[in-house]
């Protein structure tokens, strides 16, 4: 049926032309600087021109034609074709008429009623950016983007205004060109977003308060990020080719003992014996820096070619990208081939606007065994050599036994280099997503549009892990040859009517939307047995089912009305009703309303005379959103599943797969967050200074918490139920300015700071003062009422008053009962920063631009797990091996680990320079046909912190071994022709 509709659309009505005339024009910025490379197109035709170095263009156009002038970073201008025209472009960043994508429609920036932020291409972070969210790190107040590490293509944790959930997802909803991403991972890709080429993105809109997000209903509590991809620009075909090469290296090794220090330490501190021998007998003769052995300088390249223009009357953009990125851990590599196509034809004299967006990528990854190798590189004895004659591929490994009867000491750490070299995990992932949208201006009611959005997102990943039988890392299983494979298929269809109309008689503007949406998400995982290196199946590992499919569906009705009176008072309301297959019919449907009020104060007479004030909007909003991501698909249903083939019970001579009832909560439903927001947007001095301030209070209820349930009352001793409450409150402040804007010099600065305070207010169904809270699996963090989420839960360390050194295992008796026990644990700090700051600036002089981005977190704490493990008992292992550790042990001389001491909870506030870039716009080269821009960039330039570990910025606040983020130098160029 879609095809039929499309076919009949291809009959285009003919159009008549006024006599053509020759147009000569000049395009200038608002400061009178000629704009070169601006695109000038004749509306409705496919033709156009590009301005030259003096901003001048020539073309022939019908006398009644409208010329459309576009240039990146500036507002689009429209002028009527005349023999001579002069066009002034206004910078987009401060343009209040900017059209902003707000979800199911657009709005002008000056008319916004919700708290949202837009980041466009010109403000993106530069350098080697593999995954899109990194483009806006540090750019938006209240949005923290923490990369998961330095591995190629690794994802990031995105948090908007803190965390609102303890057990479900805290990830914002990501919507690309109107297509919501499911958030599912794909086997073979460390991060699903790494299959989206950042070079195809033109802007991000971050929706923060409920007025902005509630239209996304049950998926909106964590905020929404709308990503807009680049579209075709009318005009003759133009090409752009960019290429960059980068080199990344490890900034700082973990501070472990050197071989010489380790030797001395073992000789002088040996505690106990192993098999009756002194530990010094285990020392080797080598001097190996294991961290140096596993890290490398990572060389990467990223190449992108795109073409945009008009074919016939069809504006298009096509792009192709190839990325080849090495990791700084040896053997780690990622290659991405990506392509995108965007077509935006208009029909029936622009009554029907169609947009087709297609994106595709193939990811080929070679995953290093980085987790194991990085950990082992810290702990492996530095006096042992990398290679030694052995049955383990001639790598040195710890053995046990005596004389000629030696076997692998299977409890010892493994040789870090062997962990990398003898491990081959490679995967291929294909992903394609896209949508087809129709926006039809209904002929019988002016201002009424019908919109249809049909989208898909499919991915398929498969890979294999190969380890030879002789490798120590899989010695007991005789190596491995394990396959993994998975897929996902998401379908989206949305239909909505929108009505935008001005009623001058009653001084009213109406912008209304009402629609329906259907979202289906299907994932499948293939199950494989464990295979040894020689191809034998490990008995007991045969899967019971070949595949494990799962599916969930969301159906929605939604509406929004934005009513503007007198151009000054804007009242908006939205409502969304979502039905989710994740919940029982009784709890299936939820309604999520919002209401907001905006007062455009500078429109008032008493402020119009204030010449330095260019914009002042007061915004107030309230709304309710939901969160259902991260809740398992069928968790409300009582079902029986058969046990795996390695988990059978023997009856007689046969083994029986056990039918197992799963624990379930029939009443499980979405978490719900009510958000109050008050904001003020301001602009001074003709918007040379602009920004906003927002205050918010969010209350999450029906918070999911895994609580102990009375024994015997369900098929588990713990159950995930909607019992809790949590609040977040905070302030966000953003300011931007263009202090200098002359013909040759330009200087822009932007700064944002956000404060957020999180507090859990309820965790159990009955208020139970004896309930300490939900202790996290790592035993050092707890969620408890009256405290922030993930607070550290530790003992107060006692120190020797004479020398200030901590006394091993001695803690303060906080409750004064004379006994040191778990009653003396206290909640001390959290990993979440109360203050997040971002600062960007760029200075241009003629063709040169220098830019930088700095970020800071203040008040966040880290549990230093590596320091906690720096004990003598970890060095001298009675199982017959030695292990290195942090030099901290030289100071503390702790014998045993005291993991619950507060001395390991350390201030991890930091200031980082994320990015320092220099670019040179060479302008026209090669007979003026080609525009060249060259840039150089350094990422992860410096970090200022008191935290002693490698990196103070780890999401979650627990520092064990971590894939370090490299410092990366990038050189690149961009050609436009």
């Amino acid at each position: 049926m879609i095809a039929a509709s499309l076919l009949c659309l291809l009959y285009l009505p003919g159009w008549t032309q006024a006599p053509a005339l020759s147009v000569k024009g000049i395009v200038l910025t608002d400061k009178g600087v000629p704009v070169e490379g601006a695109s000038v197109s004749i509306s409705g035709s496919g033709r156009g021109a590009i301005t030259d170095g003096k901003g001048i263009f020539n073309l022939r156009a019908p006398g009644d034609a409208t010329l459309v002038i576009t240039y990146v970073g500036y507002d689009t201008a429209h002028v009527r074709a005349q023999a001579s025209v002069q066009v002034t472009l206004h910078p987009a960043s401060t343009s209040l008429n900017d059209v902003i994508v707000i979800g199911y429609g657009t709005a002008k920036r000056k008319d916004l009623t919700g708290a949202l932020a837009v980041v466009t291409e010109k403000d993106f972070q530069g350098g080697e950016i593999t995954t899109p969210e990194q483009l806006i790190a540090g750019k938006v107040a209240g949005v923290s983007i923490t990369s998961n590490g330095g591995s190629p293509g690794s994802g990031s944790v995105i948090r908007i205004r803190g965390v609102v959930s303890l057990s479900a997802s805290n990830d914002p909803l990501i919507v690309v060109d109107g297509l919501p991403f499911s958030g599912d991972g794909i086997p073979g890709a460390s991060n699903a977003l790494s299959l989206v080429n950042p070079n195809d993105i033109v802007s991000f809109t971050v929706l923060k308060d409920a007025a902005a997000t509630a239209i996304y209903g049950s998926r909106a509590s964590n905020g929404v990020i709308l990503i807009t991809s680049k579209k075709g620009q009318a005009g003759p075909t133009r090409f752009s080719f960019s290429s960059q090469v980068s080199a990344g290296h490890l900034i700082k090794e973990e501070n472990v003992m050197s071989a010489a220090q380790f030797r001395e330490f073992v000789d002088s501190n040996s505690i106990g014996t192993y098999n009756g021998q002194p530990f010094s007998a285990l020392l080797g003769n080598a001097n190996t820096d294991w961290q140096r052995q596993i890290f490398q300088t990572a060389v990467s390249s990223d190449n992108n070619l795109n073409a945009t223009g008009t074919i016939g009357s069809l504006p298009y953009r096509a792009s192709f990208g190839y990325l080849n990125q090495e990791g700084i851990v040896k053997t780690d590599n990622l290659q991405r081939y990506s392509g995108s196509l965007s077509l935006s034809p208009h029909f029936f004299k622009d009554a029907l606007k169609v947009e087709l967006n297609l994106h595709g990528a193939v990811l080929q990854s070679q995953f290093a065994n980085s987790g194991a190798a990085i950990g082992s590189a810290l702990y492996f004895d530095p006096t042992q050599p990398v290679h030694a004659e052995s049955g383990y591929g001639n790598f040195f490994e710890w053995q046990t036994g005596s004389g000629g009867n030696l076997t692998l000491n299977k409890l010892a750490p493994r040789n870090p280099v062997a962990l990398l070299d003898l491990y081959n995990n490679h995967a291929t992932v294909q992903r394609s997503f896209g949508n087809l949208t129709f926006d039809y201006s209904l002929p019988w009611v002016s201002g009424l549009h019908a919109n249809l959005n049909l989208g898909y997102d499919v991915a398929h990943g498969n890979g294999i892990v190969q380890v030879p039988a002789f490798a120590a890392q899989n010695f007991l299983d005789s190596g491995q040859n394990n396959i993994y494979k998975g897929s996902m298929q998401d379908v989206v269809s949305e239909f909505y009517l929108s009505y935008i109309k001005t009623f001058p008689a009653i001084r009213s503007d109406i912008n209304a939307v009402a629609g329906y949406g259907y979202y289906n998400n299907f994932t499948n995982n293939w199950n494989y047995p464990s295979i040894r290196a020689n191809g034998d199946t490990i008995p007991g590992s045969l899967p019971l089912y070949a595949t494990s499919p799962a599916e969930n569906t969301l159906i929605s009705w939604y509406g929004r009305l934005i009513y503007t009176f007198n151009g000054k008072y804007i009242l908006s309301g939205s409502i969304r009703s979502d039905g989710s297959s994740r919940f029982s019919p009784a709890n299936r449907w939820g309604t999520f309303p919002s209401v907001a009020l905006t007062w455009k104060m500078q429109q008032e007479k008493f402020l119009q005379s204030v010449s330095w004030l260019s914009n002042l909007n007061l915004r107030l909003s309230y709304g309710i959103t939901g969160n259902q991501d991260g809740i398992a698909d069928y968790s409300y249903m009582p079902v029986y599943g058969l046990s795996a083939n390695g988990s059978q019970y023997q009856f007689g001579d046969g083994n029986y797969n056990m039918a197992t009832a799963a624990a379930y909560d029939a009443n499980i439903k979405w978490e719900q967050t009510a958000t109050w927001n008050g904001g003020l947007d301001y602009g001074f001095l003709n918007n040379r200074i602009y920004g906003g301030i927002d205050l918010y209070y969010k209350k999450t209820s029906n918070l999911l918490n895994t609580v102990p349930v009375p024994a015997g009352s369900n098929f588990s001793n713990t159950l995930l139920v909607n019992v809790g409450n949590m609040t977040n409150q905070g302030v966000e402040f953003a300011i931007g300015a263009s202090p200098v804007r002359t013909r040759y010099w330009k200087w822009n600065v932007a700064f944002n700071i956000a404060y957020n305070a999180n507090k859990i207010t309820k965790l159990t169904s009955v208020n139970d003062t004896a309930y300490q809270g939900a202790l996290q699996g790592n035993n050092v963090q707890i969620n408890s009422v009256g405290y922030p989420a993930d607070a550290f839960y530790v003992y107060h360390q006692e120190y020797d008053k004479a020398n200030g050194k901590p006394i091993e295992g001695v803690y303060q008796d906080l409750n004064g009962d004379g006994i040191i026990n778990s009653e003396d644990l206290y909640r001390y700090k959290t990993p979440f920063p109360p203050y997040i700051l971002g600062f960007s600036t760029d200075v241009s002089c003629h063709r040169w631009t220098v830019s930088t981005v700095l970020r800071a977190n203040i008040g966040n704490y880290m549990y230093n797990g590596l320091s906690a493990a720096a004990t003598e008992s970890n060095v001298f292992n009675p199982l017959g091996y030695l292990a290195n550790t942090l030099k901290d042990v030289l100071a503390t001389h702790f014998v045993y680990s005291n993991p619950q001491s507060d001395m390991y909870v350390q201030n991890a506030s930091f200031l980082k320079m994320d990015n320092l870039g220099l670019s040179y716009n060479a302008g026209h080269v090669f007979r003026n046909d080609v525009n060249l821009r060259v840039n150089a960039n350094c990422q992860n330039v410096f970090t200022i912190t008191r935290y002693p570990g490698q990196d103070p910025e780890l999401y979650g606040g627990v520092d064990n071994s971590f894939y370090p983020r490299p410092r990366t130098y990038t050189l690149g160029f961009n050609l436009q022709f």
Partner: protein, 530 residues
């Protein structure tokens, strides 16, 4: 104009299709699972659930060795949530029979008898027992006569399901026995209580004793006669054996003066006369072919290195008892094993005064333990082995997982119950028979009559139990019955946390109810002294 209108018409047609097909899509059904009505629609389906009722004490989960049926915060190695492994930690590690070299949080306090309600192993034990009770309750709820009738089974099928039900009730009674023995006054929940938002009430030790007794007697008519059931499933003899075990301890559970020694004699006699005999060679009871030609075991927990994988059970008993010496490990059938964990304190090997006693299955190790965390201090216990009685190492995918079955009930214990109940004044038995049983055990131990005795004291019986049943999860219960577990009448190395041992308070005869359970279930009252 005609063309213009076509598009909206096409669009509305498309929409109608979309809308009509959608709302029912909110009823998504999971793949690879069954609803209760489908699962319980066949006898085979019932048997699969019955497998889980049994599997709850044989395995840690239905998803292999990496997941657990129960979640105890603080236990990261899910293998530690296995039933036998936890029971060993409660019954043996708290006594002179065992001490462990691992420094895992909350593990050392078990031997030190520094027992607190936040101890994760105590919580795991409680939760594991209740998990099996919950699964049994679900089975019993779905196999009432009314349920069987409503599902249209024929008479023979209905009988089979009723046999299954009797076994589920037996297993539930067994777990309530474990809870009564360890915790005294646990929560109480049966098939008549709902699943979900339900707060079970606490039950007193005395009432629980009556409940277990009546349940076991009630299933007697529907459970299969001795030797008539499949391997791995309970029969009448198992039910009698449990009654006998409970009756021997009755005055611990009911208070002094409420003994049931006569009942202990009655029920141990029923087992003894049901056609069991001692395995001729003692050590073969604990080897990996103990599922074959075993005349002594009444009910085993079966393990298999491929089909029933578990890092608890006998894998734990064997691997944790060995070091990493490759020769030693392969001698006991665990070429990939040896966890350097459990060994014995000095009193256990010392109780074998006569080296001719073949039950003394010990390895090397210093008898003095100055460093608990040094595995080489303390005597290694080689009772369980993954070798077969003919010296073959059975297949194991990694040389760690074992296939030896665990004897949950065996004849020798019933002899010892009879002997002790007679000695403590129960009626219905006679001293001559008791002496004969005593010497039967010793003849097997010695391989001849050299160890036979003419008389014995109550202490001799305790020592005989120690020699026969060490590491089979009886020691704590036995010491409590003899009044030797707490107080200072009997001390052993590291009792109470002191190297030489020190007396501890009597409240430790009961474990504390777990703090997590007290939080979740406000109807519970903590045991005295905690």
């Amino acid at each position: 104009m005609q063309r213009k209108l076509l598009f909206p018409r096409a669009l509305s047609g498309l929409l109608l299709v979309l809308l009509a097909s959608c709302t029912k899509n909110l009823n998504r059904e999971p793949a690879n699972t069954n609803t209760g009505n489908i699962q319980y629609s066949t006898v085979a389906g019932y048997k699969q659930v019955l497998a889980k009722v049994y599997g709850s004490y044989a395995l840690i989960s239905s998803q292999g060795t990496g997941a657990s049926d129960i979640n105890v915060t603080g236990i990261s190695d899910v293998g530690e949530t296995d039933f036998v492994r936890l029971l060993f930690n409660m019954e043996e590690l708290t006594t002179d029979n065992a001490i462990c070299a691992w420094d895992d949080p909350y593990l050392q306090p078990l031997h030190n008898l520094d027992l607190a309600s936040n101890n994760v192993y105590i919580a795991a034990m409680y939760d594991r027992s209740f998990f099996q009770i919950t699964v049994a309750n679900d089975f019993i709820r779905n196999s009432t006569d009314a349920m069987i009738a409503s599902r249209g089974f024929n008479a023979q099928q209905a009988d089979t399901i009723r046999q299954f039900r009797a076994e589920a009730r037996f297993l539930r009674a067994y777990q309530y026995y474990v809870l009564m023995d360890l915790f005294g006054n646990p929560a109480f929940v049966t098939e008549n209580d709902p699943v979900g938002a339900y707060i079970p009430k606490q039950i007193s030790s005395a009432n629980l004793f009556s409940y277990i007794e009546s349940e076991l007697k009630s299933v007697d008519s529907s459970i299969v006669a001795p030797h008539q059931n499949e391997y791995g499933r309970a029969d009448q003899a198992a039910e009698w054996a449990l009654l006998a075990r409970m009756y021997l301890n009755a005055d611990v559970y009911l208070g002094t003066g409420n003994d049931h020694y006569t009942d202990a004699i009655t029920y141990s006699s029923k087992v003894i006369n049901a056609g069991y005999s001692l395995m001729p060679t003692f050590k073969n009871l604990f080897m990996s072919d103990n599922n074959l030609n075993n005349p002594e075991v009444i009910l085993p927990i079966p393990y298999d290195a491929t089909a029933a994988q578990n890092y608890g059970g006998t894998t734990f008993l064997i691997c944790s008892a060995h070091g990493t010496d490759p020769t030693d490990d392969s001698t006991f059938g665990i070429p990939g094993g040896g966890w350097l964990g459990n060994r014995s304190t000095s009193p256990l090997p010392a109780v074998f005064a006569d080296p001719a006693d073949g039950r003394a299955l010990f390895g090397p190790g210093a008898s003095t333990i100055s460093s608990v965390l040094d595995f080489t201090e303390g005597v290694e216990v080689y009772k369980f082995s993954n070798k077969t009685s003919t010296g073959v190492t059975p297949y194991s995918p990694n040389g760690v997982l074992c296939s030896t079955d665990y004897p949950l009930f065996r004849l020798a214990e019933q002899y010892l119950i009879y002997i002790e109940a007679v000695a403590r004044g129960g009626s219905g038995g006679d001293a001559g028979t008791a002496l004969n049983y005593f010497n039967l055990l010793r003849q097997r131990a010695y391989g001849n009559t050299n160890g036979n005795v003419g008389s014995y004291s109550l202490t001799d019986i305790l020592n005989e139990r120690d020699k026969e049943l060490y590491w089979e999860c009886f020691r704590r219960t036995d010491l409590i019955r003899y009044g030797m577990f707490t107080g200072s009448t009997y001390i052993w190395p590291w009792k109470g946390g002191a190297q030489g041992g020190t007396g501890v308070d009597a409240h430790l005869n009961l474990l504390p109810l777990p703090a997590t359970e007290l939080n979740a279930n406000p109807s519970l009252v903590q045991n005295p002294g905690y």
